[in-house]
């Protein structure tokens, strides 16, 4: 970490504005950090030339006293976002060589506001995974050291493509979380279908927010599950996340599900008093056999907010236990249809075949990894004639009930809900390899309800485990009330402090 890469996004912005630093230097410092951190495998494509050109253009604008809210700030982009002329594969083999002729709305908004693109970030294939191990480009290592590893041992493990024994950065936005936590970029775009922003944030000690469904446009984001997918940022502070989201969000006539309402200045809510707010603590999130460290952290979080002037109340979200099974019907169902377009006919991978059905079968069998194939099969099954009512329709009904649970809680005067972010701290790469896939799915137990209800959810780091690994807390808000979450998140951040991985052992 150099002086320039140690800055927060807000700090870098202020120094650029005062001309204390240049975007070129800031960008070059991050490119150098990326180069040294190749072993983490966070980036799948680095756009150094483009980054420097964008930085120079930003410097020119800044010199004229112009520039947008993100002018000259180098960030990373999850491989899920279409970036014109640049590697866009959702880290799948089936999109081999795909470089779109278009730019996603979210990234276009970022470039409009002056941000600089460093490259594309690793992720679980098609965002299906909770550890970044399903990526066609291999697993990503977290910058957090495994509890039993010395830096030397960890460096040795980095050289191995499998990164065995190193900590997983969470998923699916594992490239984004690792890169932000390792100071390879000031912030990154991520996406969240069942927890893919919030779980990696918690496991790497950074801040992530999944905004309300419809707050960010999905146009140009490779779709996983359309009714659940939402864009959002990963950053090192609550303020940085607020700054990023303000630029990413906004109306888009190209996405029918995108909200037309204007985007507030989220940064203004950072530092706002939380006095008088009512925070609900849902008893259904207290799982049997819960990790005591997580339970203690949750209580501490409630205590901090009480100390900051909020009122803590118990709330009930009775349908919580149905959320995970229902999620694992709805999300694969939508995915099975969304991913039908990857057929080898128009773009991406095509396995040679003499007739069309053979071409489909060979291309899709070799183009999709095992986890994607599993979910496509589940999704196809639950939508099949004779099963639709028992699975998909019932899952949609559960979804309505989950939404109603939250509506009742908010209707009773609760301003936000506090929960743990994950059931445990980070686990090691390969640790779940032989486990039942459901073990991995359980990582999403605290986060999927938020996607099912379409609500905003913010995760902020709140402490370390006894092993020295980061733990996070989640705040769930009313629809389109991200501002309250930023205010509360900052209150926790103030109380808990910030958490950084050990010195750059990977460099």
């Amino acid at each position: 970490m150099t002086d320039l890469t140690s800055l927060t996004l807000a700090e870098a912005r202020d120094r650029l504005a005062s001309r204390a630093i240049s975007s070129r230097d800031l960008t070059a410092a991050h490119l150098a950090a990326i180069d040294r951190a190749k072993g983490l495998n966070a980036f799948v494509a680095v756009t150094a030339e483009k980054a420097l050109a964008m930085a120079d253009a930003s410097d020119a604008r800044l010199a004229r006293g112009e520039g947008g809210p993100l002018e000259g700030l180098p960030i990373g982009v999850k491989d899920l976002y279409a970036t014109e002329g640049v590697h866009t594969q959702a880290c799948s083999h089936i999109l081999d060589g795909f470089k779109p002729a278009y730019e996603s709305t979210v990234t276009a908004n970022l470039w409009r506001d002056g941000a600089v693109m460093l490259g594309k970030l690793n992720m679980d294939e098609f965002a299906m995974g909770s550890s970044n191990e399903t990526s066609y480009y291999g697993p990503v290592a977290s910058p957090w050291l495994p509890p039993n590893f010395s830096p030397t041992q960890a460096r040795a493990a980095l050289a191995d493509k499998g990164k065995r024994g190193l900590m997983a950065p969470g998923g699916s936005s594992g490239g984004s979380s690792s890169a932000v936590a390792a100071h390879l970029c000031l912030a990154a775009t991520a996406s969240d279908t069942g927890g893919s922003i919030r779980q990696p944030a918690a496991l790497t000690g950074i801040v992530g927010i999944k905004p309300t469904y419809g707050r960010c446009s999905r146009w140009g984001m490779v779709a996983f599950a359309s009714s659940l997918d939402q864009a959002g940022p990963l950053a090192r502070t609550v303020r940085d996340a607020a700054i990023m989201l303000r630029s990413m969000a906004g109306p888009d006539p190209k996405d029918s599900t995108c909200s037309p309402s204007p985007v507030p200045d989220y940064e203004a809510s950072v530092g706002r008093s939380v006095k008088g707010l009512t925070i609900g603590v849902p008893k259904e999130y207290r799982l049997e056999g819960m990790n005591p460290e997580i339970e203690a952290l949750w209580a501490k979080g409630a205590e901090w907010l009480r100390a900051a002037g909020a009122t803590i109340v118990d709330v009930s979200l009775p349908n919580t236990r149905h959320a995970l099974p229902a999620y694992y019907i709805v999300a694969p169902a939508e995915a099975s249809s969304n991913l039908a377009r990857y057929d080898g006919v128009r773009y991406g991978l095509r396995e040679p075949a003499s007739e069309i059905v053979d071409l489909y079968q060979k291309t899709r069998a070799s183009g999709f990894g095992p986890e994607v194939r599993r979910r496509l099969m589940i999704g196809t099954y639950v939508l099949s004639a004779g099963y639709y009512d028992a699975y998909y329709l019932r899952a949609q009904k559960i979804r309505t009930l989950i939404k109603r649970d939250f509506e009742i809680a908010f209707g009773n005067g609760v301003d936000a809900i506090l929960t743990p972010a994950t059931p445990s701290p980070a686990f090691a790469i390969g640790a779940m390899a032989s486990a039942d896939p459901v073990e991995m799915y359980l990582n999403d137990v605290f986060t999927v309800t938020v996607n099912m209800a379409g609500l905003p959810g913010l995760v902020t780091p709140a402490g370390l485990s006894a092993d020295g690994l980061p733990l996070g807390l989640q705040l769930i808000g009313r629809p389109f009330d991200e501002e309250t979450l930023f205010a509360l998140g900052e209150a926790i951040e103030q109380a808990a402090g910030r958490f950084s991985p050990p010195e750059a052992w990977w460099a």
Partner: protein, 495 residues
């Protein structure tokens, strides 16, 4: 309208009479500039893959956005079919793999269509009509086209049509013969063309039908149906129904049973062929499209669309009968195309004075229609203006030209003298009929003098008069007034 009696529409089998039961799913291409969910052009006949947006090609991350123009057309069509307009409808995905279906699913309306039940009155003869129930109308995307004849080893795909808006109009199984089905499609096409929601051009594929056919003994419950896919002309629809009904009757009479299946009609061989059986049927895994919000329609907006609908064929027919004294048959022929009906009315009313509507109708349906058919166009486009037709009829009524000359005049006006004023043309070509009794008398005298034997015969057999009229007309180059010739002949011959 009367109820048809007898069993003219029953088919005779070896063991007795059979009734055919038919339901149609008509796919009508919506007239709109852009596709249903993308801004790409709907123009027909472009070079392959020139009217394709990122959405139509199903590029990663692309999202559909509904085209309100297509929605308006569907609502207008529903109103014209006297159907229920559903203020809330939803879009579903119909999932299947095919190279001309880039998304891997068709966006359609499965559960909640935009238009519900309606009805069409179908005239089978001038005084016999049936009512055919409409089950529903929904919006959906068309697919692209696979091209198998461009390379010996590969197939190509043209996505120009991919995503073009279709209305699927589903009838109830209310049709009982090929003729009824043909008349139904004809009437539906007329209505669509009246309101401009579909051009009805079957050659370009703007209107296609899936035909469901079953047979049963009269009075018995419905038989097992087969669906004949994608029939693209009204004539073929009739042939396909007859062929399929005969096939089913033969199987049942031979002791077999009908398997529910999808079939294709091969017009060249005059047979239907199995495409896939019920067991092989696709499981389309319909589910609501999460990329699209439910379609909510505003009542005032629907009312505004209703207010601006043109006069529909049934109303127009009734009005032509009432206002112009046309026969039901003539009125039905004239209203089949809106342009023809408009042409008729402007010809009748040209110049502010209403002329003989029956005479206008006869010219329009007779010689002008024949000339237009020969050109392969509608009567309104044959090259004669409504004003010229009006003048032509006036010239006959005024006795300026004979009907015979008028036919020649029409040929001139559609050919070498296209665009000429008929009245001026009559003068310029000296076509004015001769009413001068002196000249006619002289011609009559000459013909009688040249045919003394025939004159003798005619005095005994007045039926011969017609022959003399013909001879005199010939001698006068057709310009003599036939009535004047007849009168002069009668006087001369003492009849």
């Amino acid at each position: 309208m009367t109820v048809q009696t007898g069993n003219a529409k029953l088919l005779k089998g070896a063991t007795g009479d059979w009734e055919t039961v038919i339901g149609l799913e008509v796919h009508a291409q919506v007239t709109s500039r852009a596709k249903l969910f993308s801004g790409a052009s709907t123009e027909f006949g472009g070079e392959p893959n020139t009217h394709v947006s990122l959405v139509d090609a199903a590029m990663p991350g692309m999202l559909p956005v509904i085209n309100r123009e297509c929605v308006a057309q569907a609502v207008r069509t529903g109103l014209a079919l006297k159907a229920q307009i559903n203020k809330r409808s939803t879009f579903d995905r119909k999932n299947y793999f095919y190279p001309d279906l880039p998304q891997g699913y068709q966006i359609s309306q499965y559960k909640s269509p935009i238009v519900g039940e309606g009805e069409i009155q179908v005239d089978l003869t001038p005084d016999y009509a049936i009512r055919v129930g409409i089950e529903r109308l929904h919006l959906e995307q068309d697919a692209g086209k696979s091209l198998h004849d461009q390379s010996p080893t590969m197939s190509f795909v043209d996505l120009n049509r991919s995503g073009v808006a279709l209305m699927e109009i589903v009838s109830k199984p209310d049709l009982r013969s090929a003729d009824e089905a043909k008349a139904y499609v004809g009437k539906l096409r007329t209505i669509l063309r009246y309101i401009g929601s579909c051009d009805g051009d079957m050659e370009k594929g703007s209107l296609r039908a899936d035909v469901n056919v079953s047979v049963r003994r009269p009075g018995e419950p419905l038989g097992t149906r087969c669906e004949i896919k994608n029939v693209n002309s009204i004539r073929f629809i009739g042939q396909a129904i007859d062929t399929e009904a005969r096939r089913q009757i033969e199987i049942i009479e031979d002791g077999g049973t009908i398997q529910q299946e999808t079939r294709l009609f091969d017009p060249a061989r005059g047979e239907t062929r199995s495409m896939r059986s019920k067991e092989e049927a696709h499981d389309y895994r319909y589910f609501p499209d999460p990329d699209l919000l439910p379609l909510e329609l505003d009542g005032e907006w629907i009312d505004a669309l209703a207010a601006f609908l043109p006069e529909l064929p049934d109303a127009k027919k009734a009005r032509l009968i009432a206002d112009y004294g046309l026969s039901a048959y003539d009125a039905a022929v004239i209203v089949a195309e809106r342009e023809t009906a408009d042409f008729f009315e402007s010809a009748v009313n040209h110049g502010g004075a209403q002329r003989d509507a029956k005479a206008v109708a006869n010219w329009l349906m007779g010689d002008l229609s024949a000339q237009a058919n020969a050109q392969g166009v509608g009567v309104a486009d044959a090259g004669l203006s409504a004003a010229s037709l009006a003048t032509l009829v006036d010239l006959i009524c005024e006795g300026v030209i004979s009907g015979k000359i008028a036919k020649d005049l029409l040929v001139m006006l559609l050919g070498p003298d296209r665009g000429a004023d008929p009245r001026a043309l009559v003068e310029a070509r000296g076509l004015r009929q001769v009413t001068d009794t002196g000249a006619i008398d002289a011609a009559v005298g000459a013909v009688i003098a040249a045919n003394p034997d025939k004159a003798e015969q005619a005095r005994a057999k007045p039926g011969m008069l017609g022959w003399f009229v013909g001879q005199v007309m010939k001698a006068t180059g057709g310009k003599a007034n036939p009535q004047a010739v007849s009168d002069a002949l009668k006087t001369r011959l003492g009849l």
